[in-house]
Symmetry: C2
Subunit: 336 residues, 2 copies
Amino acid sequence: MTKKITMAELARLADVDVSTVSRALNDSPLVKADTKAHVLKIAAETGYVVNASARNLRRQSAQAIGIVIPMAPGSGQTISDPFFLEMVGAVSHAASQKGYDLIVSVPQSETEIAERRLLLTGRADGLIVIGQAGRSERLNKLNTLKSNIVVWGGREGNPNYTLVGSDNKRGGRLASEHLLSLGRKRILFLGDIDLPEVALRYEGYKLAHEEAEVAFDDSLILRQNFGGETAFHALKDFLAAGHEFDAIFAASDVLAMAAIQAVQSASKRVPEDIAVVGYDNVGQASMSTPSLTTIDQHITQGGQMLVNLLLDKIDGKPVKSAFTKTELVVRRSSGA
Amino acid sequence: MTKKITMAELARLADVDVSTVSRALNDSPLVKADTKAHVLKIAAETGYVVNASARNLRRQSAQAIGIVIPMAPGSGQTISDPFFLEMVGAVSHAASQKGYDLIVSVPQSETEIAERRLLLTGRADGLIVIGQAGRSERLNKLNTLKSNIVVWGGREGNPNYTLVGSDNKRGGRLASEHLLSLGRKRILFLGDIDLPEVALRYEGYKLAHEEAEVAFDDSLILRQNFGGETAFHALKDFLAAGHEFDAIFAASDVLAMAAIQAVQSASKRVPEDIAVVGYDNVGQASMSTPSLTTIDQHITQGGQMLVNLLLDKIDGKPVKSAFTKTELVVRRSSGA
DNA sequence: TGTAAAAATACAATCGATTTCAGAGGATGC
DNA sequence: GCATCCTCTGAAATCGATTGTATTTTTACA
């Protein structure tokens, strides 16, 4: 428990002014090489580390970005949804490579405090918001206030903030095309189309039907939020009610896994009786049994893009919204 | 993009001194109620938010704690391991309830930079380290340097830092007892007993055998780190090599899920031929097919404990290591 | 009403760094 | 040999808040 040593103290020890120490530590060309070495040596010996608050106060930057993961009320998602968590991992990785810390905020209530706190207090230089469900207005407002925000989500309306996301429509189309190409004719869509991202996936689903000239039945939809548990029961009831379908396209892997379980508990086989395709390609998808055919959103790449665009914004560069290319990942056991 | 408004500016607008503003905002009893209201009103109107760096510099605290998730080299774990991610979620939740931000650090290399950076720069008031695999020495050292550290892990040696974890031995025993009580006689242990947590689970496994007076075969162990992919192949090979066993106790749910897949791909049935019990009870465990019998470490509770103990330490209170009570969660389809 | 005590506010130091500006000393050019 | 320019270092201002102390205003009581 050595006492914190300050820069002034270090300057005294090295017998130079603090300004010289500061310059030396920041490798300024203004300092003679000898002096620099001397200071660095003493700094190392004493285990000196610069005080972040002081530096940030002076520099007016935090070397940190925030990530806000809002649990949309009633979305049924929890922080343990693997999608969120993989996103946190991806963003954390990308941020640390750029020398930025990542501050995670999981607001517990539906107030705007979290975003404000991080961004406006200067605790974070910029903000990544995961998912915009129902919050686009607020985000628009916040963005005009201080514009270092990048949002993960699907395009919806005409946001004035920068958006990063996967090509949801394409994803929905790919998934549906896959099922249709296997000869499935009645594909149940499982997901909450009130969420913009999911709505786009549903559009892709319809598009695929049109292209394949397969009539689609708009009653073949089970509007379920992202909560696996409730989806499981809802689908069980749906099956028990005697609805007929030979495939399911679920709006997330969690939903897909819940669906598989529901189907099996109704004594139907996956994929023989009912094929299932998910969305996200979370890590568990390949490891679950049966392994899951799904749409890869390229979460890692998405995290990179979020961070890169945000840092560009922080640097004042102009930035355009960007989208990852979704891709079909076929794993034979569930989807075919 | 309103320009940042400072406290001095606010003081000017309210026609009082900054010290009064500061006290008003901090609800100090030294300020008259009228004045307080007046200041608060103007603060609200102008959208004033206190600058975190300045406050932290002055207060010598960061109102933030760090969480370090070290990918032990060769542990095979990735940040997307659901266990880590659920832990991050739990800690984040607990921290925000206490008004603390959470800074996530996922060091990419095996240097000690990450811990030092966060803690010694004052960016975080305390540090939570997840897993101690092979790092107990370094942690001991860091702890003597600045003691606000709480580590998640199993007891190993005689650490001078505070430890929080689940009762791994008990967990191992519960899992094994369960399998033995079902009449299984040859239980494969799947996990890397070089990791202290896993070693303790293995001890519990042996203990259960002794108590049940079932001879255990110490060749019935497949030492695999936490990587699901490699475990899958290793187990496949193990099965192909003709080893006989009727159950598996996996040191994590990810391993268990990989195991189930390996078993099935070898055309054996789970649980009829081989029952499987996992460890962690991650969210996916209930949703996977077949759903997983597992040991619940009470991650959420653990996250709470980590945060609470750390904050106690920060407050200078004496703190003792603590452990959650592990519990068996039976889900019929895999484990019985 | 005058004075002592209490309440409210203002002043000023401080947290630990960065950075502008000024100055000391040495090198260079003519 | 002297003026000029470079290099390097130091002094001091600054970032935006908090807080101990001083000062003013208000209240209370005789």
